[in-house]
């Protein structure tokens, strides 16, 4: 009888540990939707030397990079994952709610930031504290 109980208890503990491990394996996913252009998309003809014109990326990219770096430093790269989605990419159509925000707020809507699929920030780069709070809420 005691032996059986012991076996059940052990099995339960293993299950619990597995569940904890799985939770750990699943990081918070932060998606950043913005306009991304690169010098690679330079002109229909390109520009021979390749050295002309601006190589423009998102205006917000430097700020976003710092933010992402600080968050990864705090939580570790196993706990938080970042994905950059170009709003010019055809995959944008898969994010229906983001597409709706773009339609409604137009140019004012960038960048859009979602956490675990839920839109949290629209039209600005949030501060570290704001992101920290939003991420903590879903961890």
């Amino acid at each position: 009888m005691d032996e059986e109980l012991e076996i059940i208890r052990k099995r339960k503990m293993v299950e619990m540990l597995n569940r904890l491990k799985q939770d750990e394996r699943k990081p918070v996913l932060v998606r950043i939707f913005d306009l991304l252009l690169s010098a690679a998309s330079c002109g229909p003809s390109g520009c021979g030397s390749g050295g002309c014109g601006p190589s423009i990326m998102s205006e917000n990219l430097a700020e976003l990079e710092t933010l992402a770096y600080n968050l990864v430093t705090k939580y570790g790269k196993e706990r938080i994952r970042f994905e950059l989605v170009n709003i010019l990419d055809t995959s944008i159509q898969n994010y229906k709610d983001v597409y709706e925000v773009l339609r409604e707020k137009k140019g004012e809507s960038l960048p859009i930031i979602s956490i675990n699929g839920e839109i949290k920030f629209v039209g600005r780069v949030p501060t570290f504290e704001e992101m920290d709070r939003a991420i903590n809420a879903v961890m």
Binding site: G43, P44, S45, G46, S49, C52, I56, I87, L88, I92
Partner: protein
């Protein structure tokens, strides 16, 4: 104020107008000539704007039908030309004939509307 507004939405280019580098694309020289011709012929009644993706991306979002096409077909949907809000060319630049006939059609319609209005006023 111009009665007819033409906007040409263009993909990212290395410089405004795209006429840079050692070998500028002849297509881009053509469209610039077309614009100059049109402006010469119709003067102030036609306003032509080239919306550049790098500097005027807001224009792309403000014209949702244009943005929608890009998200469906990618950048190959560009250039897109709109005349008074209607898309008349997609995937390539319109030629002078095309733009001219569209502008003339709109002007004819405007004149018709005006004369109808005058008739109605007379009857009153």
């Amino acid at each position: 104020m111009a009665e007819i507004k033409i906007i040409i939405f263009e993909g990212p280019m290395c410089c405004l107008g795209g006429l840079c580098g050692p070998a500028p694309d002849p297509i881009l020289i053509d469209i610039q000539n077309t614009i100059t011709e049109l402006q010469k012929e119709f003067k102030d009644s036609v306003e032509i704007v080239r919306a550049n993706m790098i500097t005027n991306f807001k224009d792309f979002l403000d014209n949702w039908d244009v943005y929608q096409r890009i998200t469906k077909e990618g950048l190959s949907a560009l250039p897109i030309t709109k005349v008074n809000g209607k898309i008349i060319a997609e995937g390539s630049y319109p030629n002078l004939e095309m733009l001219k006939s569209e502008v003339e059609r709109i002007i004819t319609n405007l004149v018709k509307e005006d004369s109808l209005k005058i008739d109605a006023d007379k009857r009153r």
